[in-house]
Amino acid sequence: MTGALIVEQLFNGLVSGAIYALMASGLSLIWGTLKMLNFAHGEFYMLGGYGVYLGLTLGGLSPLVAVPLAVLGAALVGMLVERLIIHRLLDKPGWDESPVIATLGVSILLQNLVLHILGERFQNVPYYVEGGLSVYGMRMAWQRVLIVAAAIVVVAATVAVLKSTRWGMAVRATAQDRDSAMLAGINVYAVYLWTFGVTAALAALAGAMLSPIYSVNPWMGTALLLKAFIVCVVGGLGSLGGAILGGILLGTAESLTVLLWASEWKDVVAFLILILVLWFRPAGLMGSRQW
């Protein structure tokens, strides 16, 4: 085992970690504002992947156009889901659990819709940039470097927006105390709508960036959704910093398992980390006690 190999594996772990962080921050934002788990989150990731596939191979667009279009499309679907389904369940009896079935239904529906329209074949998406970076005998494909860069920029932008814009303050106020936020004149229903749009966009971006590395298929979101849930909980649900930290932690742990043991056990390690963290830190690494 050479040093270069170890660094390469760690870098691959960082790539997975960046994707996990993108997915988990969306789940965390939704939990923060709406206090619900979104089981359809993986499908926005899938829509992002298919959006780019369609744009690049059928539309002949450049990735610079196809990626934003795919992200925008998924965001619209997310807002539609909020307005047509989630909005109607709010404040009704059973709200604690009804979104679980509603979003599971959306997930089954979207998977099978894509399956019907585009078929079950795994489709390949070309790399956005060919070639790679070569430092001291270590090789990193530009596509992977691009993923990490995009994730850093987008997550940093999301944090900045949440911290310093009026919309971000409205989101944080809604997350802290919905009733007080309403009293202060915040339209929480608009906050819910936009939160769904933004989180769907984050998931779609993850799917769009990753699709050249893995091929796209209707079920690609399912396994990633489970991982994103782990990341959220390990980091602390509702905490964006926790989602980032948890994502990188999980990605690194997985690549180390592949390096030192065998790739078929990496998922077992991931879930064991989850259970151990919850055992010793029930609110997650950066979560607050109230949850």
């Binding site: 009704k92 659990e97 679980v100 599971l104 998977q111 099978n112 782990i230 056990w265 998922d267 997650g284």
Partner: protein, 316 residues
């Protein structure tokens, strides 16, 4: 007691159904309905009554199935004993995973911790190819051996026949009887108190930890027994057929559509969803598309479940 008579009547009616139309497919579908009714009711005990929203119930179902099947195949243990041991193994696993979960107050943490546990079970079963044959599937599981009953004569379990239907009916009625008594016992009242307000219940002297542990263990035992039955009924197991998330999705769908935290809700939901999924097969490829849409429509129309919609909000 009047309520109990109603349940008894329904059970007898269900028992008579296969005699009216002994078409093997109908019997098979009804067997599945009862299996899911028992499984959903056991999940409802944890999530509906104890307020621990577990998302890993498939782990106990799968453990019961694999433990009983492997014991019968490798050690020659009789499947009748396998039902008991499978249930016991699942119960022990339930206690093990309940311990770290008890410190978690927020529903999503419990859901994801239990989901993680179930996924660990699935991956381990998948990776231990030498023992379980992994995704190739564990085939050649023995059927339930024949029993000699004083009044009915010998009951031999052929390929997916009527005797299996009666066996699952007995299991189902037994499960419901245990749950019926439990919900009305002091433990059941403690459970309701914990669900409504954990702090208030604790201040009144309810031992929250012990109550939740007992309930989680019992619910896992039931899931394990149904799993063991399933193994000796379908005779082939794969990790993705018993340990996978879609099973949990069905349990959740059945319970929530029927009515979480109601006594009959999970059974109503189990029959509704199983029949729906089976008879939607005529739609071919459109089946899951329609299923997803129906789930959304049903929850929009009845966010608190069918049973509460019909009998009013305060039913429990």
């Amino acid at each position: 007691m009047r309520e109990a008579h109603v349940y008894l009547g329904v059970a007898i009616l269900v028992a008579l159904v296969p005699l009216v139309g002994p078409d093997p497919y109908t019997v098979h579908v009804l067997t599945l309905c009862l299996l899911y009714a028992a499984l959903s009711s056991s999940w409802n005990l944890v999530s509906g009554y104890a307020g621990l929203f577990s998302f890993g119930h498939q782990a106990f179902f799968g453990l019961g199935a694999y433990v009983s099947a492997l014991l019968a195949m490798k050690a020659g243990v009789a499947p009748w004993l396998g039902l008991v041991i499978g249930g016991g193994a699942a119960g022990a696993a339930g206690l093990l995973i309940a311990l770290p979960c008890l410190g978690l107050r927020a529903p999503p943490y419990v859901a994801i911790a239990t989901l993680g546990f179930a996924e660990i079970c699935r991956f381990i079963t998948m990776n231990l190819v030498g023992l379980t044959r992994g995704e190739l599937g564990l085939g050649g599981i023995p059927e339930m051996p024949a029993v000699h009953l004083p009044l009915f004569g010998t009951l031999s379990f052929g390929a997916r026949g009527l005797p299996y239907f009666y066996l699952i009916l007995v299991i189902y009625v037994g499960v419901m009887a245990v749950l019926y008594r439990l919900v009305r016992s002091p433990l059941g009242l403690a459970l309701k108190a914990v669900r409504d307000s954990q702090d208030a219940a604790e201040s009144l002297g309810v031992n929250v930890k012990r109550t939740k542990l007992i309930v989680f263990g019992l619910s896992s035992v039931i899931a394990g027994v149904t799993g063991a039955f399933y193994a000796h009924y379908v005779l082939i197991l794969t990790p993705s057929s018993v340990f996978s998330v879609p099973i949990m999705v069905e349990i959740v769908a059945m319970t929530l559509i029927g009515g979480l935290g109601t006594f009959v809700g999970p059974s109503v939901g189990a029959f509704a969803v199983t029949l729906l999924l089976e008879y939607l097969r005529v739609l071919g490829d459109y089946r899951l598309l329609i299923y997803g849409t129906l789930l959304i429509v049903l929850i929009l129309l009845m966010p608190a479940g069918v049973v509460r919609r019909i009998l009013g909000q305060r039913v429990s």
